[in-house]
Amino acid sequence: MPINYYIFLSIALFCIGIVGVLTRRNAIIIFMCIELMLNAVNLLLVAFSKMHHLKMAAVNATAGTDGQLFVFFIMVVAAAEVSVGLAIIVMMYRNIHSVDVNFLNRLKH
């Protein structure tokens, strides 16, 4: 497949995630949109790794492996991030009985 298609698909997914972050108020949904953006980037990294492999396979038989390992590490960091973030959201719900991010503007006082 032409790499352009993957680029545009990833841009579309990323922008949907951005629109979700900007328009929703529910902290959990905002968090899910961040996961969506991470996955868009992952998809593009895998596509680029395959593109690089096609060009460099004659020189280096395992060219492009780095991109897929980066995706693996992004998944690792995302899993750790989700566990801490959901703990913070649960604590926030316990304290103010809401997950509306607009209530959090009291943090600035």
């Binding site: 497949m1 032409p2 790499i3 352009n4 298609y5 993957y6 680029i7 545009f8 841009i11 579309a12 997914l13 922008c15 949907i16 951005i18 629109v19 979700g20 900007l22 328009t23 929703r24 108020r25 959990i28 949904i29 968090f31 899910m32 949109c33 996961e35 969506l36 996955n39 992952n42 998809l43 895998v46 790794s49 395959k50 593109m51 096609l54 060009k55 396979a57 395992t62 060219a63 492009g64 492996t65 897929q68 390992l69 693996f72 590490f73 998944m75 690792v76 995302a78 750790a80 991030e81 989700v82 566990s83 801490v84 959901l86 703990a87 959201i89 649960v90 604590m91 316990r94 997950v99």
Partner: protein
Amino acid sequence: MTTQILFWILSVMALFSALMVVTSKNPVHSVLWLILTFFSISGHYILLNAQFLAVVNIIVYAGAIMVLFLFVIMLMNMNKESEPRKNRWLKMAGAIAGGSLLLVLVAALKDAGLKEEQAVVKVGGIGLIKNLGKELFTTYVVPFEISSILFLSAMVGAVVIGKRE
């Protein structure tokens, strides 16, 4: 030809379910649509012959992280429409801002000189676990161990934050 059809089906599925994640009112429905998005992205990985990443994506994202989200949502009893009153203009402004970013990125990358580059599908062995594992445990062994420390600290952090008082 089959590859093209599969690509378009998976792309449309991913985009549609991503839109439903953003637009659906009920948070539980959002989580379920997000799981469908992850499955279609895994389908893309299989199409690119990155089989290890496809399986890890399903296990870690659709299996573990989304179940965590579902648990939290059901713990908070949010399955009614508990969205607060929102400003319609603010939503519109967010949508316009995201759409403008989409427009700018597409316009910038449309003529980026990548027209003839191909992402090779269905063949190639770099996404198989043999190659990835070898690379992971030789070149990338230090980041791998550091990520285990990251997991340990995330676990401790989640327990400390989640503890009452």
